[in-house]
């Protein structure tokens, strides 16, 4: 299973995070942090690379940007 296939909602349910705040006082989305921490370091790197490749594909799809 690719890291992005592990849904954030599943991660929250699995770890019992539903009772914890979703955002910090300074506005940081803590659910994303908890999800990233549920991954292995290699999976975190794969998430980053998937995001970058998606951005590149979008940019290549519109040569006028």
């Amino acid at each position: 299973m690719a890291p992005n296939d592990r849904l954030i909602s599943e991660s929250l349910q699995d770890s019992g995070d539903a009772d914890r705040p979703s955002h910090s006082a300074d506005g940081v989305d803590l659910t994303l942090i908890r999800w990233m921490l549920s991954l292995t370091p290699l999976e975190r790197l794969e998430v980053l690379q998937q995001h970058l490749r998606a951005v590149a594909r979008l940019r290549d799809a519109n040569p006028h940007l």
Binding site: I33, E46, L48, Q49
Partner: protein, 164 residues
């Protein structure tokens, strides 16, 4: 500039295969620690000893590295570049790579090494990266806008890690 490939893992593997002494810093370091951030290049601090620079040159040759600001001219980094404390902004066949002789003033590999930890990436690769507290401290020191923008996420990531 053509759209680059983004395969940071391939760069790290090439460095490991050539036994280069290096530290992962910057945005990829933050992501490896679990911070939900995006970054478009891999920042590495390398040891500037003559032996390590020779190994580094071999790794960069394998990665077909060149200075990305010179575009089509494909200028290659040489020993003099890699022994300096400066920042070499490179493009490789596996993506953008910033090789940093020193960061945050004059802190190079030897000075940063005590503030690093090993991290396994899969079964066959281990890298050393700045610990998250030091990464935060360095970004606080530099005070650049782009660093300030990520500090809140890094601080909250450190807090969440400490709860685990």
């Amino acid at each position: 500039m053509p759209t680059p490939t983004f395969d940071f893992l391939a760069i790290l593997r090439a460095f490991a295969e050539h036994e280069v002494d290096f530290l992962v810093v910057g945005g990829v370091c933050a992501v490896l620690h679990g911070a939900p951030l995006n970054t478009f290049d891999l920042d590495l601090v390398h040891a500037r000893t003559p032996e390590n620079v020779e190994r580094l040159l071999q790794a960069l040759h394998a990665l077909d590295a060149y200075f990305r600001e010179h575009g089509e001219r494909r200028l290659r980094p040489d020993r003099s570049h890699l022994t300096s404390p400066g920042h070499q902004l490179l493009m490789t066949r596996a993506g953008p790579l910033d090789l940093l002789g020193a960061i945050s003033g004059d802190r190079g590999y030897e000075e940063l090494l005590p503030h690093t930890l090993p991290m396994k990436l899969g079964d066959d690769l281990q890298v050393r990266l700045l610990d998250l507290a030091t990464l935060i401290a360095i970004k606080e020191e530099t005070g650049r806008d782009k660093d300030q923008a990520t500090l809140a996420i890094l601080r909250r990531t450190l807090e969440e890690k400490e709860k685990k």
